[in-house]
Symmetry: D2
């Protein structure tokens, strides 16, 4: 049961192949190697290793297939895989080993890999957000004129249209897509600080090396080393939670609209019950609520990670590793589930009377004119 | 013990007069009245009440002193004070009562009051952040050259300077001040949606009324009604938590630097103990850690409030009221405490040998040159 | 807005006079003085102060009215009020000042005061739970036979009776009342550890002094000093959250039952709207949900406080002070609100057809016989 | 990176083979089949299926190897695997299919499987706790007399012994082991409620069937159906968090004791750095802190799951699945890590002077006699 996202059967509910790939061990290794290769080339460009040595080391790195058991043993020993990986890479680079990892530190590798991972995560989310926004627009086109009862504090209030509710679903998602785009540069950034965040080992070449690496990796060059400054990551987590939260609101509304007696929505393909074959459960709508509440709780943990003691906190940083990937996967899954759910909508608005549904005119409070405020 | 911020004695630790004023009942009433007065004038400008009526109603509103017991009774009945307040205001407006609250709803009043409150909160935080940034700069001027042992994973790593650590404290705060400024417009915005968020009661005048009110109140006019879209508020809460988190990192570092045996900092005016008069506890530094962890946990609750069902959630909205003010007060207090703490710093770096402190040369790991990476 | 529990008008919704008294500054002072008086007498009984001296000091303590401004100034300086209070008390005790606080430490005072506070809190909760259990029993007597549609995953499933649902509300509350009773001894316990938790200053008399104080205060004598062992407090917080959670489930069910179109419950005295006088909002039911989610989030913070570094953590302990009182007040309020809500119930089950309600026979899924499993 | 517990290399840090087995898909399937087999036999014993039919169905169930792809597809459709599993089992049972799952519901299967899983989890934790308690006792034997500086609020206070600190580590763990044992019966219980929690399909045989199943599965028979009563599960989660919290306190203390300049502990086998080969990082101690803070945050989410709407909440229940397994795995891992960490301790107390450590006599505050309180 632990890994819902890749579980033999729970992945049917929680799984997301595209997001899983982004966070997969293979993708992470790729990012580690990309960092080390970029560093090797940058060291050469800065004249800190002999001409040709950086390029040869980079080539060896890029073609390297790590011994995973060695990384696991190294992680058990060191708390992270980089020392073991660097040892393997240096062995592979042979005479060019001085171009491998020199001047850098484990956190540079792992944080830069995180930046590359979040870039892919953001791409994925933006693509899905765009499709969801389009789907909501199409639903508005199709069902927007349908009459609904606006409900406030769980009580019938005044008439609205389906368009009103659909727009209330759409607006925060459009804003959040804009925010994701605007904040990319703060997240997709190189980490390069060296042992204690001062880049002392690079001397006067630190800026040149960082610029060279950032360019090679397609990342921004952060204005300062962010070994202990995790606010941008907490901020990214806050956006993840906001996205799943906005989708959770949709899911909750759909659950309420699907209640028998309310019947304001019709979904295709609801879930069955082992005891009650007649049921059609709004599985994906429920899932959106669960994922939203999950992410909200995780955010309460993620916000703790800013308390990095001294130049690097083993505790706060390890906590990040536990919290960020599930938040990202949950958000990705909530986007996919929302897209699927919107595709299941066959009707928004009152059921046709011949269908045996309750007369909408009897279903709500005052409709004839607005009350006297 | 409940209200730490205004408690007879715990306010000595947690209290913040400036922030308390911003969130005080009196300030809130002022915002409610400002909303209603702006609406009355806007209704007149839009021709929805007789000429002169809106101005007279606005004047009556602005001079009104509500019966607080009536608001309490109304809140007990209605879950919020606005229906009772509107009743009082209409009575006060007499013949002009049609210019009071017409077309609006309770959430318009309370959410707009929140916007006005957050504007003052942001002003306060930016002023304090500016002073903290200046203080950190001054400390860097004064102590920046002092040698410290860079510590990673709680272990001595390599030499750094006090400037290195001070800059690691400063950078996230400078970024967060920028972010607060950049995001003001998304937070300081009018709420105007009417009963179910459609502004139906204003008809074609809704845009003009909203613009008029936004101008009068010095708020932006949100591109959409945000009755159920709480993402900007969650985002603001995330910034609050990030600010107190960045300050908590400072507090934690100071606690560690002040450990006997480490002695990398000297503070004036530490706290005493009832059992051990010799002690000098780093009270403010500890407080920064507590406030940071507090806010982080609150953020995990605040992120739940996006799940607003239908056109207005009584549950999610009430939850906001419980979470946002303490987060804001905690953040304000953490800024004030940080400013005071920085002012207590008498030394960063090794103690003078004659002072009986341990020889810094004996205190850490390798110092003579950087190791072979 | 900050202190919802004693706010001029929001207390109409959140306030709870009985709980507020339990956590009031006055009650806390009373507990501090009770601790110090018990200690003074115990010191005399153990022969550690001259005969008569402990009794005189205790009398002086019990009649003492602290200077609150002095406590506030002391708290600002020391992070807690006890050093300042002890100074005041010793001045008041004059020649008997050696019987005041000697051998004890601030945490002994504040933690014991917490134990006494939680005793009153538990008494209050148990009394309210008993009334709620009785009210649920009475509702079952009155409406238990009414037919409801059992709903699973927000979908009509199979017929149940009102008794079935009422029992599902009742069972966890009965269990939680039992748990509160069973766990009292672990919570209502003396704290006495002295400066660093070893009671070194009491020498061989530590056990006798602790027993004497525990008896005088009506507390258990914990098997070990719990300065840094906060698990029992986290456990108490978990019970608070479980209680408000069980009540939140009731509130959420009532909100859903009250939906127009569902109409499975009728409440007297719902809340009004500033825009829609016809509405009757289930304010108390919503409040139960908000308080449950609030407490759940707080528990995520409270569980962080176990990480007490060394012999006493200023950070973790201060965090407790921020989290425990609001959780206790919220739980107390949720019990009072639940009791009031149950008293508002005028009907559970289908509305009478003449009342204009929808024919219950049309309202749900299959009713005629159980399906073939 | 998502599944830390079974990740190719991060499992070196986070992985726990014994706990992973308990929560493995294979173990879960085993529990599902055990439930269905017990039900089949109980149906026969109650005379609800023909003699021999229940036994034959149970045999077929117990030997059944599910088609996992089918379960995944079913979970995608239904939100849970049970309907698909039941379909497979009924096909396997052939003529005896009426003895499969009849009268039960998916939640009965999954909740009972959870009970069986938590039984194994508790066994594992109790065994580890016993070893940790023994290890702490042995450390006290070995190093208990060593002098430490008691530190309160991160400041040197008064002398203590290593025994004092070791006992402060041990006491909460001993209490928590007792609590786990005492609360087993509330957790290791059969779930049997049928479609809407009323066991209506079993008629008068419900009690007999439940008793028979509970006996066969070695579970208690809960006094009431707990489909929507999740308080015992939240309570179990609270114990998980308390355990990892008590271990996190140890980890944090060890990190602080290992600081150069403090040097109160010596550990074998610390972790290396990719940049600084001389370092020996207290990886396992840090991990204990991270796991404690992780679990605390999860508990804030878990406490939300009590808000089960109506007879079964798809949202709250799904949220449980996301939160409980990682909490259990984290707690198990923290126990294993703590055991390993205690085994790494080579010294508690001041370093030998010849070892180049700082003279302990210079390291702290007042030592000569207790101060005048």
């Amino acid at each position: 049961m632990p890994d819902l996202f890749e579980h033999p059967w729970l992945s049917g509910l929680f799984g997301d192949d595209e997001a899983a790939y982004i966070w997969s061990p293979g993708a992470q290794i790729g990012h580690y190697l990309a960092f080390e290769a970029a560093l090797a080339r940058a060291l050469e460009a800065a004249g800190r290793v002999a001409p040709g040595s950086g390029a040869r080391a980079a080539a060896a790195i890029e073609g390297f297939a790590p011994d995973l058991a060695g990384l696991a043993a190294g992680t058990a020993q060191d708390g992270l895989p980089v020392p073991a990986l660097v040892k393997q890479l240096r062995a592979a680079a042979g005479e060019d080993s001085a171009a491998v990892h020199t001047g850098s530190t484990s956190q540079d590798v792992l944080d830069t890999a995180l930046s590359l991972t979040l870039r892919a995560q953001t791409d994925l989310m933006l693509a899905r957000l765009a499709r969801i926004l389009a789907a909501l627009g199409a639903l508005e086109q199709r069902f927007g004129a349908a009459a609904l009862i606006g409900r406030t504090r769980m009580q019938a209030a005044l008439p609205i249209t389906a368009a009103d509710r659909l727009r209330s679903w759409r607006a925060p998602l459009a804003d959040l897509a804009d925010a994701l785009r605007a904040e990319r540069a703060q997240v997709e950034r190189l980490q390069l600080g060296g042992a204690v965040g001062t880049n002392a080992a690079f001397g006067a070449d630190a800026g040149m090396i960082a610029q060279s690496m950032a360019t090679a990796l397609g990342l921004t060059r952060a204005p300062h080393v962010w070994h202990t400054d995790r606010s941008a990551l907490v901020q990214y987590g806050a956006r993840l939670s906001q996205i799943s939260g906005a989708l959770g609101k949709i899911g909750q509304d759909v659950c309420l609209m699907a209640l028998q007696g309310i019947d304001e929505i019709k979904l295709a393909g609801g879930g069955g019950s082992s005891a009650m074959p007649h049921k059609s459960n709004p599985i994906l709508a429920e899932l959106l609520v669960s994922l939203a509440r999950y992410n909200a709780a995780q955010l309460g943990g993620l916000a703790q990670v800013q308390l990095h003691e001294q130049e690097r906190s083993g505790t706060a940083w390890t906590l990040e590793w536990m919290l960020v990937p599930p938040m990202a996967l949950s958000t990705a899954r909530s986007l996919a589930a929302a897209e699927a759910l919107l595709g299941q909508i066959k009707r928004i608005g009152p059921a046709e009377p011949e269908g045996g549904d309750i007369d909408p005119a009897r279903r709500a409070g005052p409709r004839s004119g607005l009350p006297e405020w």
